[in-house]
Amino acid sequence: MKYDVVVVGGGPGGLVAAKTAAEDGLKVLLIERKKNLTEVNRTCGQTFFLAGKYKGATESGIYCYRDPAKVEIAPDTNRFVYPQGFAIDYKGPIVPYYNTYHFSPSGYRIGKYPDGNEDPYGFFYDKETLLACLMAQAEKAGAEVRQGTIGLRAEDTGRNVRIVVRSGAAEEVIEAKYAVAADGNDSVTVESLGLNRNRPLLAPPLKVAGYIMEGVEGYPRNCWLSFCIPSISPRTDILMFMVAGGRMMVVAGPAEGSLQPKAMIENFMKHPTYAWWFKHARICRETACTIHMRLPIKVPAVGNVVVVGDAGAPYETLIQGAMASGHLAIKAIEKEVSGQNGYAEYVNWWQNAFEFNDPTFFKTTARYMFMNTLCTDEDVDFLYRLFEGRVGVSQLIISRNLELVKEGRPDLYNKLKEKGVDRLGLDVGDVWKGK
């Protein structure tokens, strides 16, 4: 067998897997379909959230990776430090994340954490720099990395794994004892191995776009910004966040009928309240992606295959989850090789480390979409103005204080109450019962 491990996919999860395997003396090949692995054209939030501080489903309706990984900032190299006893070096721009602000169309805002908070809840990093770092570390340790090589389908023969790959016009079969499926959302490796049998699609494909820009002014730095402007984006907020190194990104989507993500971004940049931020903006990169949201994989290690990161997730494991996944997958394989049950530990970690594996998760998070789907721009302005000054996630504040809407806007109160908006907080509480 030429390789001990073949890793399909050169994102953060796959690269950490390749690096870990090589450092432990395994013969590992990583294949990545892009010609340049470090070029990021798929929309990505590029934020390392500190679990344990940044509350996921309980407070914001988006899920979190639970392990309390830390970030150490140092002049020579930053490090992502994991509770399982390993760390990943990252030499590159890094910017603390202090707050998330929810904005209404007219500019009323509600902060998730107190104004002036200087205790980071996470860090913005630059993904292209991170990928370059990880690739250099993997290759230095002896991993073979083949770019411009796409995995088409995989087969677990029982004795080994065979991956059919294409590079240019040439197809070949790669054999390895083990395979790590790290080819991301809607992984072809996972699909071809028949591992999507119990993973139905949860929604039509979600189309998003993100513009990375320089020269944007006036916006609160070190923050995620979430704009609830239903007339521009009828389903979810438009998002803005920093990309470490002096840039920022605006993300919109999913596409809704004829409303396309790029047009949503462009409409936002021309919006009367916010246009002045973009007066001198230069778009440096257009990103996009279409996401297939599937039920998460229950058992991400079977036979000679271990599933890593987004390949097994509904759509994202987040950077901290993906990297942990890559590392732990290789450790699991090594245990299996030495005759111990490494898979059980990996599966157990996977099932507990991600909120998306909680049974009620999808029911509760869908309810956070009420603002854009139920409210008009004027409704949002009224609500955010009413609750401006309070601290917390805007949807939860509105939910828990819906009675206060009755006086000024009885029609809005009735509309939201009818849809159970006042019960949003209770349902989320159920998810965390006993934890």
């Binding site: 070029e39 054209n41 776009a209 990103t287 992606c289």
Partner: protein, 88 residues
Amino acid sequence: MAYRITEECAACGSCELECPNQAISEGDTIYKIDPDKCTECVGFYKTSKCAEICPVNAPQPDPKRKETKEQLLAKFHKLHPNKEPKEG
């Protein structure tokens, strides 16, 4: 006609693995469709998958490569001599 990917393309690659003819690959700046391999999904699906999946509407019918359904079906048979066309 075969489809071509326009400059709207953000090079996200979402289309690459959707193509049943493996006609899509990464170019220098944007992705590209090999027109000799594109059957507009005739033989596989009712709709053209790349256009359907693209988040920025980059794949468009190529006016320079007008092909009838019959021509596309013939192309399908040439590319996949051992396959039966579906949907058509």
